[in-house]
């Protein structure tokens, strides 16, 4: 059985229009199970676009995204939604919690949408997740009653609720203070250490350096890849994995 959780083959994302624009330009990439991958690059380099393609939020113009061995280019929109629901967990720069729902209700949302557990099981898991992220006493609070860091941790709990293989995070610390940033990154590190694949887009080189591997994207292409031990390699090595 392959140990690759996420694979991109010749991934291209092009915006067609009066002036065509290529956001992601032929990226090949393999991410192993339990790997913590950071994607960095200047603004507009295509790192978020790559992340959305890897998380099936967007469809590539060319190429293929393979999630846990399953090619996804021929899937319908509903099938892609099912893959997102069961195999991917999303964390965004802003928490994007449903404002009328409590922390616990927000965490339960993906589980209820998947409908694989009983109400009791879902509730137990939701409380367990919140407790593991230090939010035991905030289960019944609404997002507007939480701090920025707490909201982001609730969003992480929500991303983890369906036990996805892959966590995709787009600038998860972009709107947080230093303490919260440290907390969130530590949590993501723990998630990766527990065997899940974590792919994070970040502007912060110090945080990216703490990932197992870092990809630097420029103009939609992988410019370089750094391994955790400090070795730097070319795009060809990125395609092959660490």
């Amino acid at each position: 059985m392959s140990d690759v959780a996420l694979e991109a083959v010749g991934l291209v994302r092009r915006i067609e229009g009066a002036i065509s624009h290529t956001l992601v330009n032929g990226i090949d990439l393999k991410v192993k199970k339990g790997e913590f991958l950071a994607i960095t690059g200047p603004s507009g380099s295509g790192k978020s676009s790559l992340l959305y393609l890897l998380g099936l939020l967007d469809a590539p113009s060319e190429g293929e995204v393979i999630i846990c061995g399953q090619p996804t280019s021929k899937l319908s929109e509903s099938e892609r939604a099912d893959v997102r629901l069961t195999k991917c967990g999303f964390v965004f720069q802003f928490h994007f919690l449903l404002p009328e729902f409590t922390s616990l209700q927000n965490v339960l949302l993906p589980m209820r949408a998947a409908g694989k557990m009983s109400e009791t099981e879902m509730r137990e898991r939701g409380l367990e997740l919140l407790a593991s992220l230090g939010l035991k006493d905030h289960a019944d609070k609404r997002p507007n009653q939480l701090s920025g860091g707490q909201r982001q941790r609730v969003a992480i709990a929500r991303a983890l609720s369906n036990r996805p293989e892959i966590i995709v995070a787009d600038e998860p610390t972009g709107a947080l203070d230093t303490t919260s940033t440290e907390q969130v990154f530590a949590i993501l590190r723990e998630i990766a250490d527990s065997g899940r694949t974590v792919v994070v887009v970040t502007h912060d080189p110090a945080l990216a350096a703490r990932a197992d591997r870092r990809l630097n994207i420029v103009d939609g292409k992988i410019q370089e890849m750094s391994l955790g031990d400090g070795r730097v390699s070319s795009a060809a090595v990125a395609a092959a994995g660490p």
């Binding site: 959305y52 939604a81 099912d82 629901l85 999303f90 729902f101 949302l109 949408a113 409908g115 600038e171």
Partner: protein, 427 residues
């Protein structure tokens, strides 16, 4: 049921609960908007029920008067089509001119036998009558009338004349020579009272002095002004045809089957049998037009009320674009997200419908207490309201349909949004 099906049903129920929860949260978070939407639906449903009750009530009231005043079926001494003439039979001519038709003797042949035969199967009763025209002459005023000769003993079984009597009794016809019963409106026109005498001039020029022994009021102006009752023999005298019965008057237990029974009677007797529906076909057809107009107006009311729902769902979907994007990015399918907003509209629709039912009933009750002055009769007439569960079901059903339909389009538009566009925009 297989395990797979059980699981699918379970998953479906859980997802539906989630959608219901989200929808409920949305509508309860916007109390003012939700109340406005519900009020719109409630007013639409309430006034539709009131209008339907009022229109159908007045229609039924009018038809009841019509049916009560007239025989349900009238068998006349004529045929639907002209009988074949000897010239046609003998020569089979395509066209003939200047050949006089052979006339039949007027009246229904063997009326007693026909009535006995009809009574053997008819779901009602039958009575003989003689109908002719005459002129009533009193105090210098001359008015053309329809003189209907009846047998009072049999007439009570086929008409409501007894209950329509305002002065005198139907049996008083037997107590005075050449007695007549006239309509109240005609009496007022000619300043007549019971006991007064008038001159009746028949079609053959016969002039007879008659005594007014009673006054009736049917509620139909044309009948009250133009119809006069007498005994059979007197009408036959005015007609100049003794012993003739030219009309059989039928009353049915269920007036609604009159058309069907009339066809059977005509097939059996060969005489033209006219149901009350056929006799008033122009009026009933005008009712159809009126019904259509009323239905159109009610439909427009319900449709207009659904615009409030459209407005609310449009606002919610606009405000919730970010939530929609997040739900889609988490893996909720587009149609599931769309269902949230349809459910919201349904919640508003159902609540509005329930309030509308209460409002409709209250309006109907209130209107039934209102009386309107009738200048013809000089009395205060209450508004007739017809209470029917069908009004509530139809008004509520159409309203729900309009509400969910109104929500569908903004919901579809909103859920087609690509999550990445919203997430990028927020970032």
């Amino acid at each position: 049921m297989s395990l797979d099906l059980v699981l699918v049903a379970d998953v479906g129920a859980m997802t539906t609960n989630l959608l219901l929860d989200i929808a409920w949260t949305h509508v309860t978070a916007r109390v003012r908007q939700t109340l406005v939407g519900m009020a719109g639906v409630a007013i639409g449903v309430g006034f539709t029920i009131m209008m339907a009750g009022l229109m159908q009530g007045s229609q039924i009231d009018f038809l009841r008067q019509l049916v009560d005043t007239m025989p349900h079926i009238t068998v006349q001494d004529e045929r639907r089509s002209a009988p074949a003439q000897p010239a046609d039979r003998d020569y089979g001519a395509v066209q003939m001119s200047s050949v006089a038709n052979v006339g039949d003797r007027r009246g229904i042949k063997y009326p007693d036998t026909v009535m006995r035969s009809l009574r053997s199967w008819l779901p009602g009763d039958v009575a003989p009558s003689v109908k002719t025209t005459a002129i009533i002459d009193h105090g210098g005023g001359r008015i053309g009338i329809t003189l209907v000769g009846i047998d009072p003993r049999q007439e009570v079984r086929v008409s409501k004349l007894v209950s329509q009597m305002r002065q005198g009794q139907i049996t008083d016809l037997n107590h005075s020579p050449n007695a007549i019963i006239i309509g109240q409106a005609l009496a007022e026109k000619l300043a007549l009272k019971t006991g007064n005498t008038v001159t009746l001039i028949g079609g053959e020029g016969t002039e007879v002095t008659s005594t007014v022994v009673g006054l009736f009021r049917s509620g139909l102006q044309r009948v009250d002004e133009g119809q006069v009752y007498s005994l059979l023999g007197f009408a036959q005298l005015m007609m100049g045809q003794s012993g003739v019965i030219n009309e059989l008057r039928l009353r049915l237990d269920n007036p609604l089957i009159a058309q069907k029974v009339a066809t059977q009677v005509e097939a059996q007797t060969g005489y033209k049998s006219v149901s009350w529906q056929e006799a008033n076909s122009d009026l009933l057809s005008s009712f159809s037009v009126r019904d259509f107009i009323v239905l159109t107006v009610m439909g427009a009311m319900l449709l207009t009320s659904s615009f409030a729902t459209y407005n609310i769902i449009s606002t919610i979907t606009h405000e919730k674009r970010q939530d929609i994007a997040i739900m889609k990015s988490l893996g909720m399918r587009e149609y599931s997200v769309r269902r949230i907003f349809i459910i919201e509209a349904a919640i508003i629709g159902v609540a509005g419908m329930l309030f509308g039912w209460v409002l409709g009933y209250a309006l109907c009750y209130g209107w039934s207490k209102i009386t309107i002055y009738d200048s013809f009769t000089g009395t205060n007439v209450p508004l007739s309201i017809y209470y029917s569960p069908m009004h509530y079901i139809v008004a509520g059903g159409i309203s729900l349909l309009c509400c969910t339909g109104a929500a569908f389009f903004p919901a579809r538009k909103a859920t087609r949004v690509h999550p990445v566009e919203i997430i990028r925009g927020a970032s």
